[in-house]
């Protein structure tokens, strides 16, 4: 089922006209209302009136996550505070959170996009949706929640945690759809098995999974074990939250971007220029309709490619390929964003520690396990085990405190971390090797 037929199946030519109209209006709004953009436009010597076609978007400046941090908390908002009805924020693990604000219309648009997403996953008003995304500052829980209500379905706002209880609720309520991170879905499955409940006998028939990287083989695993269809969803709080793009159940091949609200581009992360059609690059999104905190050419750092070919589901929205990597070196560990540079500064603050370290991420069962390998150096070496173990515990505590992630610390011999071309390999991500 297509929830918003007029928009989702609009002929591309009309869609582009709509996008251009909205882009022009967006440029005027940010030029007038956001000093940051006013300055950026002037630096580039452009005015809103210079945008005459969609191709002119390349004249506009990029926006980066750091710009949001620099204007923490409300500096990039384009409306007065009394028009903001909700605030969400990224985890802000280093105290440099990115804060986003939504007007009433933003919330309505977002709910509409999530309702479209549910419909794309085959849901209707008759469904019972088990929402195991966390509620709170994180956009997952509430984003899904309002979308399910907009669809008219029955939402079960379980949020995260209490896994055994979740299994019982899934069974007792007879939920037909589930939303969670893919790894949590598998954790639920295993817990159900321990409780002697076979997922295959439950009415559950589809799931919408996102908020962390996952592979196609993990999708197969989930689909086989739980006897459901598993759809990939994409979103980020800076842009909106979940529902920026969604796979359709008909094709399960690429995520339809809500192009009436977002104008996507794919660029070469090094040069900032557009890549050729169908080539992989960094996804850049311009929010065409957002009022609270509209963003021009926001660099998502997510690597993907866009397919404009017609989809058999009938939607005309272009499809982005499942995100498989990042143009920066950010890691997502159990939903928490971790940059190697953050680990590095924690290590550097420990006297005498070698600057050589490596992050190894594995998936044990369905949990992400982060191991931080740190090279031993004369400055920290002790001939007593307890001193070295204390050192490991200190590093572990600092990482937990500053990043909110529990890491296993492993002291290794000097030079044992491979140096490639003079530069150390900081990340070994083994999660998608299956």
């Amino acid at each position: 089922m297509i929830f918003d037929v007029d928009m989702e199946t609009m002929p591309r030519e009309e869609l582009e006209q709509l996008q251009l109209r909205r882009l022009k209006s967006l440029c005027e709004r940010v030029y007038e209302n956001v000093p940051f953009y006013n300055k950026k436009f002037k630096e580039k010597g452009i005015e809103p009136g210079d945008i005459k076609s969609l191709d002119d978007i390349t004249k506009l400046p990029f926006t980066e996550k750091q710009d949001l941090r620099n204007h923490y908390p409300f500096g990039l908002f384009a409306v007065s505070r009394d028009n903001i009805v909700r605030i969400h924020s990224s985890s802000g693990t280093t105290g440099k959170a990115t804060v986003v604000g939504y007007t009433k219309r933003d919330i309505r648009n977002w709910a509409n996009m999530m309702a479209r997403s549910f419909a794309a996953a085959g849901a209707t008003a008759d469904d019972i949706i088990h929402n195991a995304y966390g509620y709170g500052l994180f956009t997952g829980g509430l984003g899904v929640h309002y979308g399910a209500e907009a669809l008219g379905a029955t939402i079960v706002p379980v949020s995260g945690g209490g896994t055994r209880r979740q299994v019982m609720l899934l069974k007792d309520f007879g939920s037909t759809l589930i939303t969670s991170t893919p790894s949590y879905a598998l954790f639920l499955y295993e817990t159900a098995q321990e409780l002697g409940i076979d997922f295959r006998t439950l009415p559950l028939r589809a799931g919408i999974f996102g908020a962390e990287p996952w592979s196609n083989s993990m999708r197969k695993d989930i689909e086989d074990k739980m006897n459901i269809k598993a759809m990939d969803i994409y979103g980020l709080s800076e842009i909106m939250g979940p529902g920026v793009a969604i796979e359709c159940i008909e094709a399960q091949n690429g995520l339809h971007i809500m192009e009436d609200h977002f104008l996507p581009e794919v660029i070469d992360p090094e040069t900032g220029k557009h890549v050729g059609p169908g080539e992989v690059g960094e996804l850049v999104i311009t929010t065409l309709t957002k009022e609270g905190i509209p963003l021009i050419r926001y660099r998502t750092k997510d690597l993907t490619r866009i397919n404009y070919a017609a989809c058999r589901c009938g939607r005309t929205f272009a499809r982005m390929e499942r995100v498989t990597g990042r143009s920066d070196d950010m890691l997502i560990i159990r939903g928490v964003n971790v940059f190697p540079s953050q680990i590095e500064s924690i290590l550097i603050e420990t006297d005498g520690l070698s600057p050589y370290y490596q992050l190894v991420v594995e998936r044990e069962g369905n949990l992400d396990i982060l191991t931080v390998k740190v090279e031993m150096s004369p400055g920290i070496f002790s001939d007593e085990i307890k001193n070295l173990q204390k050192l490991e515990r200190n590093i572990q505590r600092n990482i937990k405190e500053f990043l909110g992630v529990t890491a296993k610390i492993k002291l290794v011999e000097p030079k044992s971390i491979e140096r490639s071309a003079g530069k150390a390999t900081r990340i070994i991500d083994l999660r998608n090797q299956k």
Binding site: M376, S377, P378, F381, S382, D383, E384, I385, L388, Q389, K410, L411, V412, E413, P414, K415, S416
Partner: protein, 143 residues
Amino acid sequence: MKCDQLSIFLENRAGRLAEVTRLLSESKVNIRALSLADTSDFGILRLIVSDFEKAQKVLKDAGFTVGKTSVVAVVVDDHPGGLHNLLHLLRDSGINVEYMYAFVQQSGSNAVIIFRFDKTEQAIELLTEKKIKMIPGNELSQL
């Protein structure tokens, strides 16, 4: 009365210990006593060797993290209660043993125990006062 002990950081990987013994063997350094403390991830090899400086250099050059620790070699009567009497004495003086390891001399009826104390100077003073025999570093490496 202090002796220089060489400590080496080792990852728990096959062949690492053998690499140390190979380097020492090639440099004609003799191992007098050793102990290996380990955890699941790493180990610390502690050695008393015939030539501390040489051993330290060879291992450092090969990329190992090495440390120098002052330990005390105490001669203990090789009969029941020998060690107990010694530890009893130390306890009464509030000296803590961080770790220890023993070896038996080829000749005679004495065992030698290598001690790492939390208060090395105080321990040496106590043992001297109680007339307990210790082996000086230069002698130990030449045993």
